[in-house]
């Protein structure tokens, strides 16, 4: 059920509490990156069928940005992680 998202801070919540903020896969380029790189980052999206990663903002709850990994065909949710924790673990920083 995609309509229920398990927030790591708040527990199981209906999707109405969230606002979806788009694809979580693109990585923001350096400020001096080429126009082509910036164009691709801002406009070009794959729109895949199946497994996707998105930013979900828990506006009605803890107000944290989450990264939700889900299947847009079966509506199965695989993981929900705090976006800040994810970014910190990616950069090797300890919270």
């Amino acid at each position: 059920m995609a309509s229920l998202i398990t927030c790591p801070h708040c527990g199981v919540r209906p999707k109405e509490e969230f606002s979806i903020r788009g694809d979580a896969v693109p990585v923001r380029p350096a400020p001096n990156a080429s126009d082509e790189t910036w164009y691709a980052y801002v406009y070009v999206r794959d729109n895949p069928k199946g497994l996707i990663r998105e930013y979900w903002h828990h506006t009605g709850g803890c107000r944290r940005f989450l990264v939700v990994e889900r299947d847009n065909v079966t509506h199965e949710v695989f993981s929900v992680t705090d976006a800040a924790d994810l970014a910190r673990s990616a950069s090797g920083e300890v919270a």
Binding site: C10, G11, R13, P14, E17, T59, G61, R63, R64
Partner: protein, 183 residues
Amino acid sequence: MTIAFVHRHVLEDHITGFETKPNPHHITVPRHPTILTVLAHAGSEAAVGAALQRLDGVTLRFCGPCEWLCVSETVSAEGLLRLVREIEGASAFDHSDGRVLLQITGPNVRKILAKCLAVDLHPEAFAIGRSANMLVAHVSGNLARTGENSFEIIVPRSYAGVVFEELKEMGREFALTAGFSEA
């Protein structure tokens, strides 16, 4: 020119006083609760949380990581603000006038709440003392379980009228009454 400001509760026009005696299902509205928002600086969440827990006459409401509401009906906002600001790594702000506290109680309180919020409040799933931010009647607020069958809701002042009317409507089948607390 001097202006004298008169404190007037935002639900004054909603609670008209036709109901004299509270029924078993009742909403109590404290007139002057103290409500502070407290944020912990990065890295000091556990220490600030533990220090807040030790404050006397204050209950702590969880909002999200590093964020709480401190609620008290006995300690003044100024007094509590002083205490909280002494805690290392904590930032606090007085929101007593910006938030409205609603205390709802009754044997069927979960049936009333189930009609306006979508979180599992079964006694085993939501223990006494637990609290969380959630949508209450489409408004983002904080809900806490304070007793066997009693809950407290904190919503922004400007939404309090809407949430209050919604709760009253949902409680009609149990003859839900409402009134300000005498204290």
